[in-house]
Amino acid sequence: MSAATVTVNENVQGGLTRAELEELQRPRHKGRETVGMVAGIVGMALIVLYCIIPFYWMTISAFRLPSDGMSTAFWPSPASIENFKGAFQPKNNFTRALLNSVIVASITTALTLLFGIIAAYALARLRFRMKGLVLAIIIGCSMFPGITLLIPLLKLFTGYYSWFPNWMNTYQAMIVPDLSFGLPLAVWNLTAFFKQLPVELEQAAMVDGCTPGVAFRKVILPLAAPGVFTTAIITFIAVWNEYMIALTFGVKPTMKTATVALSQFTGTTNFDTPFGSIMAAGVIVTVPLLVVVLLFQRRIVGGLTAGGVK
């Protein structure tokens, strides 16, 4: 920033020679610049540490021996993968739980994209009355407290009403409530992406004789693929991380999602709390997300900010 300022000052204060000006400003600016740079680096280092250290603690705790669960040493000694083995012990059903998470998150994401893409296209491209209302409804849903939905659904899914089947411990009992926050999220993100695409392309396609439907399929969708992909990741993560709904509707050991399963790990007895295995499971649940997020960080940041920022 300050480098740019120097140039501007030079131009404005034309009365002085370049050399004179440099002479005048060098000591002060150089000092300030260095201080600024050091401060910047320190600040950035602080941010990185702030974000990483707790996660670091979880990771090294996962790599300790199970019996060192409560250790406060800053490095695992000896390092061990026993906790990871522990997390995958058959009695924890963690493999099944990961599979459940993948199934619930994938189906929810697919459904939200299916409905979201066409709705978002209409919201981004078409003119119609009540658009403001539709947008308000969708944004309103994303602010909704989950607990308000959970209570009647619990009653409904447990067979309280004779006209509704018992949905406890089924995938649909998790997928349907997940749509309540997944769908608004997807529509909102996709609308922002569709708006960024130049409208001229479709117009050209339509001039060439394409119907709006064909224009959408052949022109818009390929162009929007990165946006759709980003939305898919963001929705998938949101559903993958969901806890309250999964906690309520998947109570059988074989129907828990990964987040619920790891929060309820037990050891050799019902009292046993295997700190290490819980941390190992936390690492397992988080690392795939981190890999995806870091690979696509630009797009995801773009997607996150698209919803809130113009």
Binding site: D68, K91, P253, T266, T269, D272
Partner: protein, 438 residues
Amino acid sequence: MTRTRSVRKIALVGASVASVLAIAACGSGNSNSSSSGASSGGANWTQTGPITYVQGKDTSGKVQSWLDIWNKAHPDQKVTLIELSDQADQQRASMIQNAQNKGASGYDVLSVDVVWTAEFAANGVIQPLPTDMKTDGYLPAAVDSATYFNKLYAFPSTSDGALLYYRTDLLKAANISSPPTTWDQLKSDCTKIKAMPGNSKMICYGGQFQKYEGLTCNIAEWINSAGGQFLTPDGKPDVNSTAAMKGVDTLASWFKDGTIDQKELTWTEEPSRTAFESGQLIFLRNWPYVYTLAQTDATSKVKGKFAVAPIPGLTGPGVSTLGGHNMGVSTYAKNLGTVKAFIEWWNNEEQQKAHTIATSNAPTLTSLYTDPQLTKQFPYLTTLYDSIKNAKPRPKAVRYGDVTSAIQDATYSVISGSADATTAFNSLQNTLTTLTQS
């Protein structure tokens, strides 16, 4: 308003068989009311056919193999295992939901935590067992915990009681010949041990004082061991009696003078076990599961240096809180003949012994506590029997969830120092009293 008040009242029910008898006698005008148990609901206890057995997650991995034994002998009355969550709350919710949806989940035999009996019975989740199911030879406290309004609603299956773990090496070094049986002895033993070099940083007594169900178990022992009680024999709350307050005051004073460390306010079973195994504790109150772990854990520093005793009390050995599970029968179960035969088989001597060996859960058959094979494998069993034969169930309440929360609230505010014992327990007494009037 008055109607709502009564609607929202917590119904507390008498803790002992005696009180229930009294109430039942008033209601029916017939002191022999237990005979109506078998006929109530007109259940047919002869029909046979396949059934299900529902319990929390099987951490032993052995349940299916035992069911296989039964299934081989009864091919047309097969028992299918349904495993629920490992979380007690979720097990309870699933069982209640099965009743709400009129048995649509297909649950027949339920493994019922001792504190759920009243709630399950009152809500029609489980039904009374036929009167020809005899409980002679089973722990009286366990039978009591399965009884509601003088009817047996569940069959005693597993039990649990508290033990006092103590450091034999330290007691010996301080020339203390036997473990303490009273609180005063425990404290003076501890003072002696701490006065010895290198022990000054040790904590005298470890327990479970986090705000959760374990706190209810712990405070119940303090109150019962001082001669107090949660409820009088006719079902009235009695938590601020002189005797009960003696227990509460002692506990509060131990927190104040450091006999119990402040950090125990966040302890559940595991942190207290870890602290004992790392050598920080002289005495630990915990369940039997700690015994094997503390002897075998690689990091345990107390291997071979500890033993168990009954928990101490005010003037002599204390009164343990009773844990464990009983087997109830869903109101919507069909093949009740099989259900009855299966429950009886599951809890016979041979089966209970096999269960104990595999799961190290305490049996409910008293004869097993002197079984040579079991006492060899579980050296604490004899001591545990001393603890368990006098154990008391926690208060039987239809809204047990609310009752235990109220007890935890009051206890936690006293031990964390935010309220004085008298105020908190007078207020608890008032809460429970208003609640029982409905």
